[in-house]
Subunit: 412 residues, 2 copies
């Protein structure tokens, strides 16, 4: 089975696992390395603004942790997670209407850690896995090495359609779907109440499993809070969240709430992967939430992001050519731009980087399984982040970018 | 391929991956949950002593990090690791005689994270993987889900024998071996210079790969520092280390130094697993090393551990029945005890726990592939940790334990 010849990387002097043929580097993380150039305006990453970090609180948080837990904050701890943090998260989820029990919450190294544990426990070669079109690139990176059978779910302005979900599960009753119903990455789309109820109805009809990924739940700039699929179908939904967007991404704290039958398997998978997540980081996060600091910081972060989103929507309305469309997200971090069929985002990116503006090409947000290689899904699309750049950078960057788009259109 | 019926856990309402059939829970981590009983003396875990933690330095370390790096300490960072920490580790490895380049050092979530990345990149179903007999239980947990073909390497007082390594590689020239030549977990054994040169000679003869795991390198209580296999065969050896035993295990900081052809694949694997390791933890570790604090703390830690090892060796010599043998490690954290053939460590553990003494049964340190299930490798052995209990606990615990051993012998 293993052979040097079979592997696409011929220069490798040792046979790698078949899995590596499906490992994708992150288009974003590779590009980010090039962005450390003076004057570069980046709409590429998914970074929270540094202004949202509670930097000045950290000394106090750490002190409180040592006062309360002493050397236990530095010792090995349970794979499941640090009990006070699990409890604090469960309480917040219950306030959202999700029937959350701290005993079913696993703390992971970012939500990426939850995706990896879920992949390990659920995915064999060719396991049917539905993903939105487009979908979160980091999830594709987690799933791909486990070689599932990616099935693209059709989407509209509210994300995955009930019809596409039904098509998936009627063909594969034990199928799995990965959904991001709230301020989706990359599209910014949100499913409304009716859509959520329709999706839940489909989910209840099949012995399926849905992974509901909600990193942006708290980053809501308008419209009402929506009920989670995990509230509607708690036995069939794994709910994932993260502290990366509301505390500090560098600490790598994510979590998932899993049905009782699945939870012990995720713990076993995580044990083999990293034993547990940093005790000290978890303890500081628990203090941050329990001390009321998160609730104090969140409105400030939302105010910053709302202004930046508005600035980007204004700039796009003002500058973008008429044959380009863009989403108007009510929350989250991203706007999705779709050009005319003839538009080639990849070629445009090279010119944009020369003009010192960066974005992520749309094709990065689709699984690249063989049947879709020719379709070049997302080829005419790209993703813009509005949380990291300042309002003046947004104005300047979008202006520059649209000049590049004009040149790209002329040269076609 | 996937079906509910095939899976050993019949009560699971959803088909799990085939991989889960090979997921082992950790005997240690499961038992640790039972040990929170007043009066329990635990020789079970592999925990560093809290006295070794630089707890009082943490406020200063964090302050230095924020002064030097500001909000970057809280932001997303490179998958490869935080540059100053990679550089600090490379420098220490070079001082050990290992040709280390910071560009080939990957910072991971504990050494468990390195094992997982290596597994993802190297192991297919049935990939030949040699492990010492006994071997590190956490490594088995990482490797097992990827379903390699475990091949047990014969060992003597210096660990894996050159003959067993040659047998592995002559049958499987592209085979992989996982070795812990220095103060091995669980046996405490160390390979001397001649043994290392013999192993290196075998390694150089085949297009193989060796994973050299060195968590206890710095915890040396007697005898000279030994040259690493990574110094002797840098192109064929991945060298793994950790800060868990010399800084703080709760922070989950490990690393590996990989050959140039392997390194980019490990980065891709880690990207999909957790994006990166905590920026703040890495930055604090870099300050700890660069500030000279590690070199200041290490002799103190070694002094504590040496005394505890001596106390345990004394107690074992005094109390242990004549038909039990034990290792006399020159470093690390563990002593391995071998009873007579008729001794059943598992049955003894149940009685020991009632007497409030805990250890880990020997069978946990062998891969449980079908051909070996009947052999019950390690059935008459157990592992004792001497770094966590105090000297008086060690004396008292070994005394109690030998009483239990006496009862177990009588009842046979």
């Amino acid at each position: 089975m293993r052979s040097l010849q079979e592997h696409p990387m011929m220069s490798c002097p040792f046979p790698l696992s078949i899995r590596t043929q499906n490992m994708r580097g992150s288009a974003i993380r590779e590009m980010l390395k090039q962005l450390d150039v003076p004057g570069m305006i980046s709409f590429a990453g998914g970074n929270p603004a540094p202004e949202s970090f509670p930097t000045q609180l950290f000394a106090g948080l750490q002190q409180r942790v040592f006062e309360r837990y002493g050397h236990k904050a530095l010792q090995y701890s349970a794979t499941e997670g640090f009990a006070p943090l699990r409890e604090a998260i469960a309480e917040r989820l219950r306030a959202q209407g999700i029937p959350a029990d701290a005993n079913r919450i696993l703390i992971t190294n970012g939500s990426q850690g939850a995706l990896d544990a879920l992949s390990k426990v659920l995915l064999d070669v060719d396991t049917p896995l539905g993903v939105e079109s487009p979908t979160y690139l980091g999830a594709l990176q987690s799933f791909s090495p486990y070689q599932p059978n990616f099935i693209t779910l059709e989407t509209d302005d509210e994300g995955a359609t009930p019809q596409s979900l039904r098509a998936l599960f009627s063909e594969h009753p034990h199928g799995i779907a990965y959904l991001m119903p709230t301020f989706q990455n990359p599209s910014g789309r949100m499913a409304g109440l009716t859509r959520r109820c329709e999706l839940a109805q489909v989910i209840e009809e099949y012995p399926c499993l849905v992974i509901e990924d909600e990193p942006y739940h708290s980053l809501r700039y308008e419209s009402d809070e929506q009920i989670a699929l995990a509230s509607l179908c708690p036995d069939r939904v794994v709910y994932m969240g993260t502290l990366s967007k509301v505390f500090a991404p560098g600490l790598r704290l994510g979590f998932c709430l899993a049905p009782e039958w699945l939870f012990p398997w995720l713990v076993k998978a995580k044990q083999g992967t990293d034993l547990h997540t940093s005790t000290l980081s978890q303890a500081m996060a628990a203090e941050y939430i329990q001390g009321g600091f998160l609730d104090e910081q969140l409105p400030k972060t939302i105010a910053i992001y709302r202004s930046r989103r508005n600035a980007m929507l204004d700039a796009l309305s003002q500058f973008l050519p008429m044959d380009f469309q863009f989403t108007r997200p009510h929350g989250g971090m991203f706007i999705w731009v779709e050009g005319p069929k003839s538009f080639d985002a990849e070629a445009c990116l090279q010119k944009a980087l020369l003009a010192k503006v960066a974005f992520v090409v749309g094709s990065a947000f689709y699984p690249n399984h063989p049947s879709q290689l020719n379709a070049q899904m997302g080829r005419n699309c790209f993703r813009l982040n509005f949380t990291m750049p300042t309002e003046s950078q947004i104005f300047e960057g979008i202006r520059k970018l649209t000049q590049v788009l004009g040149i790209c259109a002329d040269s076609q």
